[in-house]
Subunit: 139 residues, 2 copies
DNA sequence: TTAACAATATTTCGTTTTCAACAAATCAAA
DNA sequence: TTTGATTTGTTGAAAACGAAATATTGTTAA
């Protein structure tokens, strides 16, 4: 059997598309001066708040030592703040500060616009199929 | 319309799956002590050699300044070497040294095994459909 | 109760990556 | 030609990353 060319490997296609989508998002976030990681953190918190560090890290696809440093920075920028979890004092909860909420309000449309552009490139049922296949592979 | 939850966004699914696949590959490369970037570079060169820096960077999804440093390291490790392009002296061609070929021979099966595992998780026609959809979105 | 173990977040520290500036070679237009 | 713009790759300083070690709290089992 002929070797599978790198470009035909699913892992490579996924990596390429991921890179393209991240570059696109980064570009659109640039005017706001917001790194993509911070944007994702605000998205996570927007869905439900407060959240412990570990959960944010897992959902935003960031390692916990990195998250600690990003949250440090976002705190000094007044976007979020920490609070100890009263039920489990090992945990540190993160909340969105008013400035963070305002920032996210300005930016929230960016990711949904990207999603929309993608949807427009595929027919509706194809987009659904694609998501379904990706979910099948996730874990 | 209800906001699209982050987890339902295609860009997020792609990022998650990419992370999972890279973690998996990294794990399997660990015994050989080969970083995933170096493995991808060897894959690119295996397909056709020699290749200029810029092309390798584009195909291996690495920024060119980063590639310069990785090739520096791989050169000192005796895996690859540089040669000036006689037709265009701005270009630097990269070739695989014997040690690099031997290393890749040992590792080449790892990515195809990953591809195989993925294929086994999906039915054949689903895998083909998934690739087709990803290609449709790529540029 | 304790003592051992597990979970959570942070710190440390060496490596890697990035951005901007740069150098060299080529190309294109006057 | 020569000049200016473009392409290609490297460099250097700063930032980001991540594995391992640490500190703190919680859980479990003797």
């Amino acid at each position: 059997m002929a070797p599978v060319r790198m470009k035909d490997q699913l892992a490579y296609l996924i990596a390429s598309l991921n890179r393209q989508l991240e570059a696109d998002l980064t570009e659109r976030l640039r005017p706001g001066g917001v790194p993509i990681e911070q944007f994702r953190i605000l998205e996570v918190l927007d869905a439900s708040e407060p959240r412990p560090m570990g959960e944010i890290a897992a959902q935003a696809l960031i390692e916990t030592p990195t998250l600690t440093k990003i949250i440090d920075k976002m705190t000094t920028e007044g976007l979020v703040y920490r609070a100890p979890d009263p039920h489990d004092r090992r945990r540190v909860l993160v909340l969105t500060a008013p400035a963070g909420k305002a920032l996210f309000k300005r930016l929230r449309g960016i990711s949904s616009a990207q999603e929309k552009r993608i949807a427009e490139m595929l027919e509706t049922e194809k987009a659904a199929e694609l998501k379904s296949l990706l979910r099948e592979l996730l874990q």
